[in-house]
């Protein structure tokens, strides 16, 4: 966006960003260091950021999970469910977005409104009818109810990609058509690469939303061997008994790692720009 920036500018920039970010993530930093404190001390030594004694107890205790099922199982389950969901979600959402935004088919507006409306009803009143459907399909206590609906895309992603596609001039479509491209080719060879930042953004969101999903997982996964990380984390903090906050924070940090790593890795795709130089010349 800018050309050469003066060193002072750079310095100010970094200072500003760092100080804001420090305030922003202080709670997380606190959580990170608390996970190394002795569990009983976590809440009694709030002011003291660094642990006086660094312990890995919380990680051991936390990792052991409950009644013999360790977090290894939980992580594995989370990975399977989440990865499958993300693939399906992004794929189908981008297809649907293309359909809505670029193809004038009958019923488009009505279905578009339907799609938006799916976001406006709180999930709490849908869980029972949905449960009955899955129960009749015999899918309870499997991963299917968690993954299959994701292969229908999500309104959030569809709408997002539509907005990004809106930024792609329709002259592109015309040009491609003249060149003999059919719709599908247009979609795969031209549209998708152009909205890659949006697709990757969706993938990141899809990943951590699914990773985080608690209620859906809990309802359909009844046996601890199938539990995902999100359920396990919730089990650590039950208000009716003393909670092991040290272990909770420790496991929470661990569960954040995949998401963070994914984000760092995919960063550059999100922030790639596009050049529509072929168009305006």
């Amino acid at each position: 966006m800018n050309k050469k920036v003066s060193p002072i500018n750079m310095l100010l920039f970094h200072l500003l960003v760092i100080s804001i970010s420090f305030v922003m993530i202080y709670p997380l930093i606190w959580m990170f260091f608390s996970s190394f404190k002795d569990s009983a001390l976590v809440l009694t030594t709030i002011e003291q950021l660094f642990p006086s004694e660094w312990k890995l107890n919380n990680y051991y205790n936390g990792w052991s999970g409950f009644g013999g099922t360790s977090f290894e199982v939980f992580f594995k389950n989370s990975f399977i469910v989440t990865t499958l969901s993300v693939i399906g979600n992004v794929l189908v959402s981008s297809m649907a977005a293309y359909g809505f935004s670029r193809i004038k088919f009958k019923g488009r507006n009505v279905l578009f409104v339907c799609m938006l409306i799916t976001m406006m009803l709180p999930a709490q009143v849908l869980i029972i009818p949905q449960y009955i459907i899955f129960s009749k399909l015999d899918w309870v206590n499997t991963f299917l109810p968690l993954v299959v609906p994701e292969w229908g895309g999500r309104a959030f992603f569809i709408f997002l990609i539509i907005q990004f596609m809106a930024g792609i001039p329709s002259e592109l479509d015309e040009a491609a058509k003249i060149d003999g491209c059919d719709r599908i080719k247009l979609y795969t060879r031209i549209m998708l690469p152009l909205i890659r930042p949006a697709l990757v953004t969706c993938a990141v969101f899809a990943f951590y939303w699914k990773w985080d999903d608690f209620m859906g997982s809990l309802l359909y996964l009844n046996t601890p061997e199938k539990y995902t990380v999100s359920i396990a984390l919730k089990l650590f903090a039950d208000p009716t008994s003393v909670s092991d906050y040290g272990a909770l924070f420790a496991m929470c940090i661990l569960s954040l790692l995949p998401v963070i790593i994914l984000f760092l890795v995919l960063q550059k795709y999100i922030v790639e720009g596009i050049a529509t130089s072929g168009l305006k010349g």
Partner: protein
Amino acid sequence: MNYRSKNAELITKTKNRNRFKENVYGYLFIGPWLICFIVFMAIPFVTSFVLSFTDYNMLSEPKFIGLNNYIELFTKDKLFWQALSVTFRFVFLSVPLRLLFALAIALLLNRQSKLVPLYRCVYYLPSILGGSVAVSVMWKYCFSKTGVVNIFLNSIGIPSDISWISNKDTALWSIILLFVWQFGSSMLIFLAGLKQIPKNYYEAATVDGAGVFRQFFNITLPLLTPIILFNTVMQIIGGFMVFTQAMIITDGGPVNKTLVYVLYLYQQSFKYYKMGYGSAMAWVLLLIVGFFTALIFKSSNTWVFYENESKKPRTKKLKKVVS
């Protein structure tokens, strides 16, 4: 004569065939979504709508009671209005704040620099935590009487020792701030949008002598409007649906000052075993949210600029830059 009508016939036939093709393609692309929508969404939607006219405790068959739920909701339920008022305050305070921060930070971080990816990750972190228990627990302690927030405020000279989450005036703010703190996802979307603005626009503008502010208002903002529309609509919908944080951090308290709508709905449905009533509440919410969404969409005709359609607003200056 013959020739002309034959031509017209041919044209209509082609048009029809094209329309048919368009329809086929359209449904092909939205196919998977449509199927899942019908099976996993439409049916439950209709079911919940029907349930809203029943007395349903989930443990036995629903009993049809007509409009009673709705009538009771609007005429006898004081907490309904409380919940609405809390939720409205929440949405119209937190959403603008969130969008503002998201846009500001996105602009700030929209540059090439080695450390920037790291910064982006840092700003994005809070929103990854979402409604997790750990974050809510931690937030509770940060905003407690002896928590970090007070320590911080005291250290910069603002005396403060209130317990933010249990003070009836500030309790809602602690939830609002949590929501705003998690602006990372909106920020990412703005970033992606910013990246999609072709660099040559800015280059041309600089050549024309436009300064930074001019460039922002005449290039960035207009081209970002589809994304702004998206984020606004999404955040408002999300804001109305806020639930987990309110449940874990304050559980609607103190004295129902943070009783957000969906939390109250949840209490009615699962704590008091009145799923029919809860369903009615849900549909009222849908109407409210739908209303605001429609309002925003309607207004978007005047302020959103789509490059692939020839809409009008603010395009004069932009066209000048572009052409």
